[in-house]
Amino acid sequence: MNAAVPADTPASGTPAVPAEVLHPRSYLHEGSTLRSWLTTLDHKRIALLYMISITLFFFIGGCAAGLIRLQLMTPNGQLVDDRTYTELFTAHGIIMVWFFLIPSIPATLGNFLLPLMIGAKEVAFPRLNLTSWYIYTVGGVIVVLTLLSGGVDTGWTFYTPLSTLFSNTRVILAATAVFVVGFSTILTGLNFIVTVHRLRAPGMTWFRLPLFVWAQYTTSAIMVLATPVLAMTLILMVFERITRIGIFDPSLGGDPLLFQHLFWFYSHPAVYIMVVPAMGVASEIIPCFARKSVFGYRAMAYAMIGIGVIGFLVWGHHMFVSGQSSFASDVFSILSFVVAVPSAIKVFNWTATLYKGSIELSAPMLYALGFVGLFMIGGLSGLFLAATALDVDLHATYFVIAHFHYIMVGGTVMAYLGGLHFWWPKIVGRMYPERWARIAAWLIFIGFNLTFYPQFLLGLAGMPRRYHHYAPQFQLLNELSSTGAGVLALGYLLPLVYLIWAMRRGARAPDNPWGATGLEWRTSSPPPKENFETIPRVTGGPYDYHPSGQRA
């Protein structure tokens, strides 16, 4: 093992001069009043606004998860009653999906880095960017109101006719919150697409874009095309709830499966909104700490596009036992296997990137490798669910819960944290404490596996999801899972503490502490308001790393 890089030692090639001496004021010093933050049009500040908001929601959603795991410590737990339990898992789902995971990497790291990485001074539409955050905030306020006024008991999926005819909770309010926050997603996506198309620096051709940018671009396309379908679906659901007539109600000749088709037409691509940006983060961190160009750059870019496109055609694999035709199930099954191929390519290529590298296991790298491992398990378990005959047994059991948490928490949250560490010096101009960061990475990795691996077994044992009480033979596995959740919670609190601590007390960060190659490292840490004093001219690919140390 190498020793931790002392935080105040700049990486090779970067002069050890405090940033302020060489550079003008950073974006953080362009006004410190609350007003200056709430009216800012600077993509970097908006990224921070988003970061604060989603962190808040991450911990609200996390508290719900904690209560769920506490309730499930015993088979007939009485910590919360069944109504509260239902409202807890619904709140957990709604908040984590729409108020944390979907905006997580795009709206924070993406907002901050996308213009920097392509050598732009801003995103294309700064006002739209700020509007997007305000819309998110309005949605957030509504979702908090929903919780305070009694919560929702439909599950985050809002299946009809439960949501339209049989629930007496705050369905309309919750749907409004999701509807509203969808527009913030759309605006972010629209902004990113135009930014990548029109604002690349001279010489920044499409195949010189960092993979993180490719990831954001793919994600944005999904955001723009899938989110409006959810918006309309929610309108129809709410309208049907109010007027008691609609196309989802079988008593009029409607079909509740229509709702599921529409819902998953959005919600399956939404999974890729959550995980493709995470792939982008890993693709930046791994080459940097392996000191090697990413293996098969073009394949990596095409794989993400492939995932984005095929991802629109697999929604029916959520419905193998729903009553859709077996022919439809077969088609969705084969397409679901096909969409696994680009993900496999990515895992192989990340692994191959390590070959003949010069690997340093610093904190961001630990997170990134943790991401690869957990994403791989998540992806492989997805194959079981893509196989119709197995999904019949596993559908709606804890196997599914474990599978998608491996993708979304093991994958996305791990990568998000890795990205936060990797770019924290750039964002706040200070280094985080490396040792604590490594401890947190290991804690999260262990806590995560302890929480969710037993859930695979629970699913195989036949424990259905969304159960308030369960059969006694499932207790041991549930206890393991709940214990793991405790470790995981601790692991998540650590970065919250030390990253905030580092904002004031951390050692000053040089412009390029990791010796990384992206354009974002060619400006000061933190960057000035206009990002670059002179727009960089790009002459080569994004990962000009050399394991033996010398630069080309």
Partner: protein, 309 residues
């Protein structure tokens, strides 16, 4: 129950087939996961910064290698797909001689009705070694009938029938559960499948048939509800013959052809306008709201029995 062995037995003809596929896929995925993990660990150790490993000519891509590791999974996936689909198709092909049992789900209970009229709640008695076909519908929201030991599951929808069939291979009691979230007491909506020796099953069935069988009830309803007024042979109204209707193709006025299955019959009674039969005037009224799900089940069983005129 043993807390260290929570896994259900494989107690139906379908279960071992599903398990074999599962084990094969698990072996394959396990191999991939272990290999990748080992390779990552080896690389991380061997190429740790400062090690003396050979780093000459680091590759940044290898076209054919990448084609290989894209193509190999695709080929393997295709095999798995074929295997899985061949099992899956059996879920949709219940043997013709299956014992038919009606299942009605509502918040938060399962009501089971056997062909001879015997009813039970949250329990399902079935004979060992004989195929059983469940004809299921819901009175309110979507539920899902799930028997872990049989490896089967099917959502149960309002307004239409879905089917599930199995052939038990072990005597005993097996848990069934609702697997589709259906409201706050979703977790309480379970029960047991009780697999009995065929002779015991016959005895059990006969013991509880104080109510008329489904066919008899259907016949009575057929008269009471006024169906016979038009569908009797001597009727002055020109209405389709129901005698040998079940399982036959029906030609509709819009040029399409549908199979006269349970869902078709249900639709005809609830939404007759949607299923205009070629050559008949659309005069049949809707019976929506006038017949309970039990009544509908009885009428359909009556028509299926071939005793309808």
């Amino acid at each position: 129950m043993n807390p260290f062995d929570p896994f259900p037995p494989a107690a139906s003809t379908m279960a071992p087939q599903v398990d074999h596929l599962f084990i094969a896929l698990l072996a394959m995925c396990g191999l991939v996961a272990v290999t990748i993990t080992v390779v990552i660990v080896v690389f991380v150790v061997r190429y740790r910064r400062g090690s003396r490993a050979d780093r000459s000519n680091p590759p940044t891509g290898a076209f054919w290698l990448e084609v290989g590791w894209a193509g190999t999974p695709l080929a393997v996936f295709f095999v798995v797909f074929i295997w899985s689909t061949s099992i899956f198709s059996r879920f949709y092909r219940p043997p013709a001689d299956s014992t038919q049992i009606y299942v009605m789900a509502k918040q938060w209970m399962w009501r089971i009705q056997h062909a001879n009229g015997r009813r039970e709640i949250n329990q399902l008695h079935v004979p060992l070694g004989y195929p059983v076909k469940l004809i299921m519908s819901s009175q309110d929201v979507i539920h899902s009938f799930y028997v872990p030991a049989f490896r089967i599951k099917q959502d149960v929808l309002p307004g239409r029938f879905t089917y599930l069939w199995f052939q038990p291979t072990q005597l005993g009691r097996f848990t069934f559960a609702c697997a589709q979230f259906c409201g706050i007491q979703h977790y309480a909506m379970g029960g047991q499948v009780i697999v009995m020796r065929p002779a015991d099953y016959e005895r059990w069935l006969a013991a509880g048939s104080e109510q008329p069988g489904l066919v008899a009830r259907g016949a009575a309803l057929f008269r009471q509800s006024g169906c016979s007024g038009c569908h009797e042979p001597g009727s002055s109204v020109h209405a389709p013959d129901l005698h040998a209707l079940y399982g036959q193709p029906v030609h509709l006025a819009d040029g399409s052809t549908v199979l006269a299955d349970d869902n078709y019959l249900l639709d005809c009674m609830l939404e007759p306008a949607n299923q205009r039969v070629l050559g008949y005037a659309p005069v049949m009224p809707s019976f929506k709201g006038q017949l309970t799900q039990d009544d509908l089940d009885a009428l359909i069983t009556f028509i299926k029995s071939g005793q309808a005129p």
